[in-house]
């Protein structure tokens, strides 16, 4: 029981990270109908920017503890957003109106470019950091097994919830969010209503990248090691989360992220750590075969 509870805590905090990245996949798919395969690498860039920011801030002795984290998060979000914007501008916008596979191929190319760029500029070795946030609570004791809820996990869950609340408000309640949904439902009509659709698409990439930066920062702080290749595996899992939740659906992305985090954690805890990725990707295949629209996705058929 205590063991399961511990896995639940671990799974939720991991799932939150997947969910944040999955939103970026699902938003971009919703608005331009492509899978942005470079999005996992945007997450990796976010983690590296946080690492650099953290080292600069803490070694400069400017700040430490929560203040440093907030500052690092803000910096990483801003710079990663810039990367997201640039990627769209360079690799996807020129291909708009081209055949459907073109931006997909371009995305794979962009993913390779970003990985190699970081590998060359930052080195290929893994980058460890000292734990920034330590401590936690023992919330339950069962025999010798203590259920731990670390301060870092609380931080991940709270930050994610706050970011998600702001994001939900943005999409459902603001003019910008309405323009984004309009572009998603009928881009041509949105432009006939005077919406600058290119700009709206850019903003979508910026928001997706900023959320990936949050995930990257959390990943760095929680696991303490990153390298240029983390974007691939985490990215594919977040993509799986987006598909499981129903690609195009924002609540679905969060739900899918949580489920993938939980499945992976429980699988590692009860079956085999070595095969945890297999578990996650089996879900991808099962979803695609038996439930292609995902849990909260909608069927393509619509009343005309």
């Amino acid at each position: 029981m205590a063991y399961a509870l511990q896995q639940l805590i671990n799974g939720v905090s991991l799932g939150m990270i997947y969910g944040l990245i999955a939103i970026g996949y699902t938003m971009v798919y919703g608005i331009i109908g492509m899978i942005n395969f470079a999005h996992g690498d945007i997450f990796m860039i976010g983690a590296f920017l946080s690492l650099i920011g953290l080292l600069l801030i803490t070694s400069g002795g400017l700040l430490d503890g929560p203040g440093a984290i907030v500052l690092v998060l803000a910096l990483s979000m801003a710079f990663t957003a810039l990367y997201g914007w640039t990627v769209e501008r360079l690799a996807y916008r020129p291909l708009r109106g081209s055949f459907r596979l073109a931006p997909l191929i371009s995305a794979i190319g962009m993913s390779i470019v970003l990985q190699n760029y970081v590998q060359v500029s930052q080195g290929a070795r893994v980058k460890p950091i000292e734990p920034v946030v330590q401590g936690g609570f023992t919330i339950m004791q069962e025999g010798t097994f203590a259920v731990q809820l670390s301060t870092m996990q609380i931080l991940i869950i709270l930050t994610t919830l706050v970011i998600l609340a702001i994001f939900t408000w943005l999409v459902t309640r603001t003019r910008l969010g309405r323009a984004m949904r309009a572009c998603e439902q009928d881009r041509k009509m949105a432009s006939l209503l005077g919406i600058d659709t290119d700009r709206t698409i850019s903003i979508t990439f910026v928001i997706g990248a900023a959320l990936a930066a949050v995930a990257g920062t959390m990943y760095l702080l929680r696991y303490g090691v990153i390298d240029f290749y983390i974007g691939f595996l985490v990215g594919v899992k977040a993509f799986t989360a987006a598909v499981l939740g129903g690609i195009g659906s924002l609540p679905g992305a969060v739900l899918g992220g949580l489920l993938i985090g939980l499945i992976e954690t429980f699988w590692s805890a009860y079956f085999s750590v070595q095969y945890k990725d297999v578990a996650a990707f089996s879900i991808l295949i099962l979803t695609l075969v038996f439930m292609p629209t995902g849990l909260l996705g909608r069927a393509e058929v619509e009343k005309v």
């Binding site: 003019r175 949904r181 041509k188 009509m189 432009s191 209503l193 005077g194 659709t197 009343k303």
Partner: protein
């Protein structure tokens, strides 16, 4: 005639290698209702879309209110006082009726409240359905929504594409009445594309006949209605 609000001069539009419009010239004066009639595939909708810059005219000039808008991006054109209720209605199916209407006023930055009031006065049905998802409306209601949404930006020129398509005669009559009312009360200028030539020519001040991308005839609504060749081709021969 006063200076035209919309002047289309010798416009050609292509879809790939296919020339959909072949040197079309149309003018619309302020306060006029002008209709464009023609068979399926004649290029009527293409002309309305070309005015909006999507697809762009390959040659010729389009001027709105004295300004050359031929090369402007679509969203600029649509912010300059033109609105379109397009072919197929294209309402946002997963937004509420209310949100669809707000979208109409969004980019012009004007207060949506008077527009909403006007929309609900014109089409009381939309008021009843305000919170409903637009995709669940009936065809007639969707058409009303598409027109009301186009009016939200307070346009000077309304481009209307087949407002009667697929509607019961009673509903289509309601919609035509609404257009006439708007034109008389607010001086709204309308360029109307219709297959239902009879109704359209009765409503319009002037009309153009479009045949495979070329204007073949023009005149007042009455004149065109009286022409035997128009009657044969577009009014079912009686």
């Amino acid at each position: 005639m006063s200076t035209p609000l919309l002047e289309i001069r010798d416009v050609s539009t292509f879809y790939g290698a296919v020339e959909a419009l072949k040197g079309v010239s149309v003018t619309v004066a302020p306060g006029e209702i002008v209709t464009l009639i023609g068979a399926n595939g004649a290029g009527k909708s293409t002309l309305l879309m070309t005015i909006c810059g999507d697809p762009r005219a390959r040659s010729g000039r389009i001027c709105f209110d004295g300004q050359d808008i031929t090369e402007r991006p679509t969203h600029h054109i649509m912010r300059s006082g033109i609105a379109q209720s397009p072919e197929g209605r294209r309402i946002f199916p997963r937004m509420s009726v209310h949100e669809n209407l707000l979208m109409g006023a969004q980019s012009s930055g004007i207060d949506p409240c008077p527009g909403l009031d006007q929309a609900f006065t014109l089409f009381p049905r939309l008021k009843e359905r305000e919170a409903q998802r637009a995709g669940t409306l009936s065809g007639g209601e969707q058409q009303m929504l598409a027109i009301a949404r186009a009016l939200m930006s307070r346009p000077r020129l309304l481009l209307l594409d087949e407002p009667s398509l697929g509607l019961a005669p009673l509903v289509s009559r309601q919609i035509f009445q609404a257009i006439r009312k708007l034109n008389m009360e607010t001086g709204l200028t309308v360029l109307l594309v219709e297959q239902n030539a009879n109704q359209a020519l009765r409503l319009a001040h002037r009309g153009y006949v479009l045949v495979t991308g070329r204007i073949t005839m023009s005149g007042t609504g009455r004149e065109l209605l009286a022409r035997p060749d128009v009657r044969d081709a577009y009014l079912g021969g009686h």
